[in-house]
């Protein structure tokens, strides 16, 4: 059997419990049954990937319990094994899997909570870059501000959800808190990293629109677009808040 076929069949045996007879035929027999020896690999693969993935979802574990999370994670691994030798961002689409996972259909906010944890992980591991400082901003001539390309740092993510994710998260983190009303309305969240720690901050819907708009257009246009939808948008306050949180990328570097 050619090596390519051996590896394809071996991979099949790692992700499914059945023995591949053609592969078994070319493996050496031993006093220890083949199924037991293949189980060593199966356990390594499934527990290695399962632990790596589950560790990224502590809030989901609080919400559904360890066993339920493990069953989702195992099903995900079989359907979507990693495609890279670096597992840091493995599970980047786990929220979509959760959304379609029928045993969790009665928890409609679960997929967005998964997305929140995915973004937290991506922010935690995002590439290092430098923030735009107040001095950098002050150095930009006033007549250039409108055309300024104000980019968000690699570790900054935005999430909008019809569910009260912030309240659900607070509930997960505090055992004494009462369960929130999941029908109390949606939320906009900012996920970012400051001094190596990931922070999750609730932002207003106009701030969310403004920060999203900055991804694709210069400052002036982003402000105009936000004001068109939200005439009460407070640009000055938002800018101050963003500078304090060090959300913007220092231009010309990185």
């Amino acid at each position: 059997m050619r090596l390519n076929e051996i590896q394809t069949r071996f991979k099949g045996m790692m992700l499914a419990p059945e023995t591949d007879d053609a592969l078994a035929d070319i493996l050496e027999t031993s006093d220890i049954p083949l199924t037991r020896r293949m189980d060593v690999y199966r356990n390594n693969v499934m527990s290695g990937l399962g632990n790596a993935l589950s560790a990224n979802f502590p809030l989901l574990e609080k919400l559904v319990g360890r066993d339920f999370l493990s069953s989702m994670v195992r099903a995900y691994i079989v359907a979507h094994p990693p495609t890279s030798g670096c597992l840091t961002f493995y599970g980047h689409d786990f929220d979509q899997f959760v959304a379609d996972f029928s045993p969790a259909a009665h928890l409609p906010y679960l997929a967005d909570m998964a997305k929140l944890e995915i973004l937290g992980n991506q922010s935690y591991h995002a590439k290092d870059d430098e923030a735009l400082s107040a001095q950098n901003l002050a150095d930009i001539p006033a007549d250039r501000l409108e055309e300024l390309e104000l980019k968000l740092r690699e570790s900054v993510y935005l999430l909008q959800s019809p569910w009260p994710l912030h309240a659900i998260r607070a509930y997960c983190l505090d055992d004494k808190m009462n369960a929130p009303d999941i029908h109390s309305g949606g939320t906009c969240l900012l996920v970012h990293r400051l001094h190596f720690d990931v922070e999750i901050v609730e932002i207003s819907v106009d701030e969310y629109k403004f920060l999203n708009a900055l991804k694709a257009q210069p400052l002036g246009q982003a402000v105009v677009e936000t004001l068109t939808t939200y005439p009460d948008f407070d640009f000055e306050n938002t800018l101050q808040r963003c500078m304090k949180l060090q959300l913007f990328l220092k231009p010309g570097k990185n």
């Binding site: 090596l3 220890i32 290695g48 990937l49 990693p82 935690y124 590439k127 570790s155």
Partner: protein, 300 residues
């Protein structure tokens, strides 16, 4: 309390590697970040898995702190050198960036495979020792060395199944891979012991037949015994002290290969750091007894 952090620290390059001041190192893992970097330890070097540092943030920061104090060995687990698929260029690019910043004295991965088609299984899976496998492995080692612009070391695996038809023994396979590609060998002494037990061959003969000039690093780790149907299978678990029989084998290897940089690996059920350092001291004592405590040749 977070002190003021200069983010540029995470972006600066380090000076070129020198040989470690003494030959024994330990694996730097998350639970040891604080202890290992705030204490002055009698260690020659630290090892990390590069894949854990492809991103930025905390981990990169601690790797920078580690590199300020110690020489570094980057021990890959994700290249999948034995796959019929070519080594991923994206992976190589991230690896190369890390090498350029952190300037390790050794760079290595395994004689095993993990990737097949679009799945990367995150385990070190076994290879048949055939001419076809040797050609496949050598092609990937050569691609890697050309891409990285440097020599790599390739480690012998622990395996739990063997293939019925091999064209050569594992030690012949390892020697030939080194001869065909110019790579060095990372000799894992615990893996040799595990292989010898699981597949019924002589660990001492294995070491006697590895060509001395290829060996650039050695590894020591603990393994677990699992009894099944009245027989014992050894599993390379890296979760306990190095066993006595493996120390004996290491002593034999030190007599043969000299003071080769040696790593104590511990990857789960982490003990306190002093236990790991005591294991390193044990290896160092063996080197002192049986070889000059000077690394005999320049590992790249």
């Amino acid at each position: 309390m977070v002190t003021r952090i200069n983010h540029e620290n995470n972006l600066n390059k380090f000076p070129p590697a020198t040989l470690p001041s003494q030959p024994v190192g330990i694996g730097l893992r998350y639970p040891y970040y604080k202890d290992a970097l705030e204490t002055d330890l009698e260690l020659g070097w630290l090892e990390v898995h590069p894949e854990n540092y492809f991103g930025g943030g905390t981990h990169r920061h601690f790797l920078s702190e580690a590199r300020k104090k110690y020489q570094l060995s980057l021990h890959g687990v994700g290249l999948s050198l034995g796959s019929t698929d070519p080594v991923s260029e994206t992976h190589l690019q991230s690896f190369k960036e890390l090498i350029e910043i952190f300037q390790p004295f050794n760079v290595s991965d395994h004689a095993s495979w993990s990737a097949s088609g679009n799945a990367h299984l995150n385990d070190l899976l076994p290879l048949p020792y055939t001419h076809e496998t040797l050609d496949t492995l050598c092609l990937n080692i050569t691609r890697t060395q050309e891409f990285l612009g440097r020599k790599i070391l390739v480690e012998n695996p622990s395996t739990y199944v063997a293939f019925a038809e091999n064209d050569m023994t594992e030690y012949q396979f390892m020697n030939r891979a080194a001869e065909m590609t110019g790579c060095g060998l990372l000799l894992d002494i615990n893996n040799i012991y595990v292989q010898a037990h699981n597949h019924g061959y002589d660990a001492w003969e294995y070491i006697e037949n590895i060509n001395t000039r290829h060996v650039g690093e050695m590894h020591l780790a603990g393994h677990s015994e699992h009894k099944t149907t009245g027989k014992t299978i050894l599993i390379d678990t890296h979760n306990r002290p190095v066993r006595g029989e493996v120390w004996d084998l290491y002593e034999f290897a030190v007599r043969r290969f000299g003071a080769i940089p040696t790593l104590i690996e511990w990857d789960q059920d982490f003990p306190t750091l002093d236990i790991l350092v005591a294991e390193a001291d044990k290896a160092r004592a063996i080197i002192r007894n049986f070889a000059e405590e000077r690394i005999p040749h320049a590992a790249e």
